[in-house]
C-alpha cells in the first residue's frame, strides 16, 4: 500500500465482502494532524495510478475519494498555518492531486463505455455499417480496460449488455461436477 496515505488508509479495514470500513471515528481532528516530532520528516510514497484503480468497485473508489479529500484539506491547512506558506514535504499535495485525477480517469472510461453501449443498443438496422463497426471497435478497446466491473451498480438492464460480466452456466456446472466426482 502506498505510504502517503498511511495516516488515512490505516484507519480503513477490509471487510469479508471486500469493502472498506473505517476503524476510527470521524471527527474534526482529521483537519489537524501534522505535528511532527523534532528531526522527523514526513515520507511519502508514490501516488495512485489509473492501473491500480481499474479493478476497484464503485464503492471502493468512493471511499478512496473521500480519504483523498480529507488528506488534501489537511495538507492545505498545514500549508496555510506554516511559516512562509510552505509544506514540510511539498510533493505530498501534488501526489494527492494526481491520484484524484486518476480516480476521475477511471470513472470517465466507465462512463464512455456505458454511453457507447447505449448507442449500440439504440442503433437501428438501417444505419451505415461503418457507424456500427466504429462503435464495436470502441467497445472492444474500452472493455479490456474496464474489465469485469459493473458500470452502473443497481441498473441490471445495462449489466446484461456487458460481455465481461456474463458467465457460462454450462461451463460452471461441468466444473462443479468434476469437483464433486474427485471427492
Amino acid at each position: 500500500m502506498n505510504q502517503i496515505f498511511r495516516s488515512g488508509i490505516s484507519k480503513l479495514i477490509r471487510d469479508n465482502n471486500g469493502l472498506y470500513q473505517r476503524k476510527a471515528e470521524k471527527s474534526l481532528k482529521d483537519l489537524f494532524e501534522h505535528n511532527y516530532a523534532k528531526g522527523t520528516y514526513p515520507h511519502a510514497g508514490r501516488s495512485w495510478e489509473a492501473k491500480d484503480l481499474r479493478g476497484k468497485s464503485f464503492n471502493d473508489l468512493h471511499e478512496i475519494w473521500f480519504e483523498l479529500s480529507i488528506e488534501r484539506n489537511k495538507l492545505l491547512t498545514e500549508k496555510a498555518s506554516n511559516k512562509g506558506n510552505t509544506l514540510e514535504n511539498p510533493l505530498r499535495l501534488r501526489k494527492v492531486k494526481k491520484s484524484m485525477a486518476a480516480v476521475k480517469t477511471v470513472l470517465g472510461e466507465r462512463d464512455t463505455l456505458k454511453k457507447t453501449l447505449y448507442l449500440l443498443k439504440n442503433e437501428s438496422n438501417d444505419a451505415p455499417k461503418n457507424r456500427i463497426e466504429e462503435l464495436k471497435e470502441k467497445v472492444a478497446k474500452l472493455s479490456i480496460l474496464v474489465g469485469a466491473v459493473s458500470l452502473s451498480p443497481g441498473l441490471k438492464e445495462l449489466e446484461s449488455l456487458q460481455t465481461a460480466l456474463k458467465v457460462d452456466e454450462n461451463l460452471e456446472k461441468n466444473i462443479d461436477l468434476l469437483v464433486e466426482n474427485k471427492k
Binding site: F32, F58, A80
Partner: protein, 123 residues
C-alpha cells in the same frame, strides 16, 4: 441516479447524489484556538460553494452535524509587481490580482466542542 451505497451520502439542493464532490476546506490560521469556547471554525473555500453544500460536506467527511453556516465573499487584493530584488527592487507599472475566495464560518453544538480540546494531564 440510484444510490448504490444504500446510505444518504450527499443530498442537497445543488449537489443531489454527488458521490465525488470536489471542494476544498482550508482552515484559516489560528481560528481553531477559540473552538473549545465558541464552537466556531473559519474556512477558506471556492466562491461557487453554497451553505447547504458545506453542511453536507462536513457531515459526510468528518461526521459532525453543523448547526449554522455563515459565508462572506472576499475579493482578491490588487498588488503591484516588483522588479529586481533587495536594494535594486523597483515597482513596475503592472498590477495583478490575487484569487477571490469565500470565507465560511461553521458553528457546532456544545456537546461537540470537545473534539479539538487538548487532554488535561493527570497529576
Amino acid at each position: 441516479m440510484i444510490n448504490p451505497l444504500n446510505k444518504p451520502a450527499l443530498g442537497t439542493r445543488l449537489m443531489n447524489h454527488v458521490f465525488f464532490p470536489n471542494l476544498k476546506l482550508q482552515v484559516i490560521r489560528n481560528t481553531q484556538k477559540s473552538f473549545p469556547t465558541d464552537g466556531k471554525l473559519m474556512f477558506k473555500t471556492n466562491c461557487d460553494v453554497g451553505k447547504v453544500d458545506i453542511k453536507t460536506y462536513v457531515k459526510a467527511l468528518y461526521g459532525t452535524p453543523v448547526d449554522k453556516v455563515n459565508t462572506i465573499n472576499v475579493q482578491g487584493r490588487i498588488k503591484q509587481a516588483i522588479k529586481g530584488f533587495g536594494r535594486k527592487a523597483s515597482r513596475i507599472n503592472y498590477k495583478y490580482k490575487t484569487t477571490d475566495y469565500k470565507k465560511a464560518i461553521i458553528t457546532v453544538d456544545e456537546s461537540l466542542k470537545s473534539q479539538l480540546s487538548r487532554k488535561k494531564l493527570n497529576k
